[in-house]
């Protein structure tokens, strides 16, 4: 795997209400190969404020990738996904559903609302780590992302 030189670190928006899961994800991303900055939104409303640069997030940067949990307070992850993918300003951003559910219904629905991919959080730490680093590798080094609109 080649090291990729990027002028700026990748902006990751993590939408997750469980602090334990936030820390786990951060821990896993620390081991990653690509420099990245992780912003965390704790609920669906917070996530939309961030993306729309509202409220306390007036100067928030546009994320290069969004990691989204489905079960969120205030505004549910599915709603957030739908809003993002319908918004012409936001729909280009890859959204990875990272959630504990493996219900067929959730998977189907997510893809139907145009999630880019769906990952079930593994129980095992090692596996979790592997998943996150794989994510990183795939989306941030292999795949081409559009340059940010405010680059």
């Amino acid at each position: 795997m080649n090291l990729v030189f990027r002028s700026q670190p990748i902006e990751i928006l993590l939408v997750e209400d469980n602090p334990a899961d936030v820390d786990l994800t951060l821990e896993a991303l620390k081991d990653g190969k690509v420099s990245n900055v992780v912003r965390v939104a704790r609920d669906g409303e917070d996530a939309m404020d961030f993306l729309r640069r509202r409220g306390q997030h007036l100067s928030a940067p546009m994320p290069d990738i969004i990691l989204l949990d489905l079960n969120l307070p205030k505004k549910d992850g599915r709603e957030v996904l739908a809003e993002i993918k319908l918004d012409p300003e936001l729909k280009h951003i890859p959204v990875v559903i990272l959630t504990s559910s493996n219900a067929e219904r959730d998977i189907l629905e997510s893809y139907q609302i145009h999630a880019n991919c769906y990952i079930q959080k593994p129980v095992d730490l090692e596996q979790f780590m592997t998943v996150v680093t794989s994510l990183e590798r795939f989306w941030l080094t292999i795949v081409k992302l559009p340059k940010g609109t405010d680059a």
Partner: protein
Amino acid sequence: MIWEIDHVMGIGAPTPYSEPLDGSPDQLGFLLSASPDALLIVDWAGRIQRVNSDAEVLFGYSATALIGKAVEELVPGSFRHRNELQPHGDLISATVQPLAAAVPLSARKQGGSTFPADVRLRSIRIGEEVITATWVRDLSERQREKDLAAGAEERFAALVRSIKDYAIFQVDAEGRITSWNDGAQRIKGYDASEIVGSPMAIFFTQEDIASGKPEWLLEQAKLHGRVEDEGWRVRKDGSKFWADAVLTAVLSASGEVICFAKVTRDLTQRLRAEELVRTSEQRFRAAIDGSVDAFYILRPVRTSGDGKIVDFEYIEVNATAEARHKRSRAELIGRRVSEVSPRTMNDGTFDTLVRVLTTGQREESEVQIDDPGIDIAWAHRQLIPLEDGLALSSRDITARKHAERELQLFADRLERSNQELQMFAHVASHDLQEPLRMVASYVQLLQKRYRGKLDADADKFIGYAVEGAVRMRDLINSLLAYSRVDSHAQALVATDCEKLIAGVLRDLKAKIDEASAVIEVGHMPIVLADGTQLGEVFLNLLANALKFRDGARIPKVRVHAERRANHWILSVQDNGIGIEPRHFERVFRAFQRLHARDEYPGSGIGLSICKKIVERHGGRIWIESQPGQGTTFLFTMPDAQAGGQS
């Protein structure tokens, strides 16, 4: 026969013939032509002088041939008898004088054939001469008729003689036996020579003889023409038999008894038959009275106008029926159903009875009885149509119905309980996933970040915590898998085992290669199954076959299918470490492990999932094994064609 007649013109009181006979040709000629029979005029020497045309026809000779012949040539013996006749000068007076004995004469015609003849003679004096007028009548016809009649009589007599089923014999006016037949011999034992001449009384018992029965019977027959009697008769060997005898009087025109005809029938057979019927009746009674079911025979009661059935009458009931209605037989027989069990008129029973009677078709049904007069609540009824009536048998199934209801309630409770348990297991294991994930992940993170950074004990403690978490994860996954057998159950469809096994072997490729195992798959059938679940069974069994291999030899696994009536026996055979017979049952129980965790991995749920899946398909799973040599797991699956349960 020869009859001497004097009177030519008619038989009876003599009438004087006014003209004296003088023998002139004219008078004789008149006689010849007027005669209705063949007439020969014979001279005293016995030679034929004149004949009539009937004689020509009868004897077959022409008149000229006949004239001059000796009459003895044609009717031998006829001329001889003329000596017994009194010559008469004329045809006056004298009456018919028959000869004492009739002698049949045989006349001869031209050609030599003979015929029986009736010859009548009359001597006539003509002047000095005496001629004999000889009338000849051909009796062949009459003889034939007589023979026929005699023949018929003889045949009839032979018929009567040969009848074997009836004793038919004649008894004279004094009561003595004058004839016998085969039937009499057979029935009474005597043969004709022994019995003819004996009195009829010989057939009667001592008591009957003493009381004068035989004589009384003869008297009755005389008085009334016939008498019929049923009673005991005695055979030649002294044995008795029950007889039906008819004595008929044969009377003369004046009413005198000529003789009696007796026809006797041996009724022993009939008696036996009656006895059989009686015995059968008794058995029938015993059977229906002994029956635990109520038994009735009903007859319809119809309106006189249109014959419509309006009610039913009890013709026969058994003991159980009496007990059910709390009435005795006498209180039921003859009574109407509407009176004894009024509810049955309105609850559909009456309609059913009418229907069975009119359609002539049997019917069976289970009915609920709501009648205070009857002490059962549920009955299984069978209705059988009879000629004009019904047989009804009613079994008390109250207890069974209650048991059924109890069972149904219990089954419902069980079903509900199962579903709750199912839901609980599913929810529990599902919801447990999250906190488990937290614990496992962070304990592992702790282990990763702080290994060697805390004291030795810390590492050890954290190690144990991690192990625990991992085991918990496995357990919960197993529980989830187990509960999915029901929650993720799919319909049973035709499934190609060959394709399924090929897929499973692909999934196990890594393990197969690692063990250098040789897998042999025989011809696999199409079975009726949930493909996903059947795949899980094969996966588990094949994985086990590889896991529990004997380190000393190359693992060989053989998958085989054997046909039975409507199902297949599938088997997975290995040459691994084997299982002891005493563990055959245990291995199928959830979480039962036979080995230490560090010897062979696995949660111990695989086989119990296999068992649950196989049993869901209506089959069974079992083991054959030799410890140290290998194990075969066998299970049944329904054939896709038959679609039946194994």
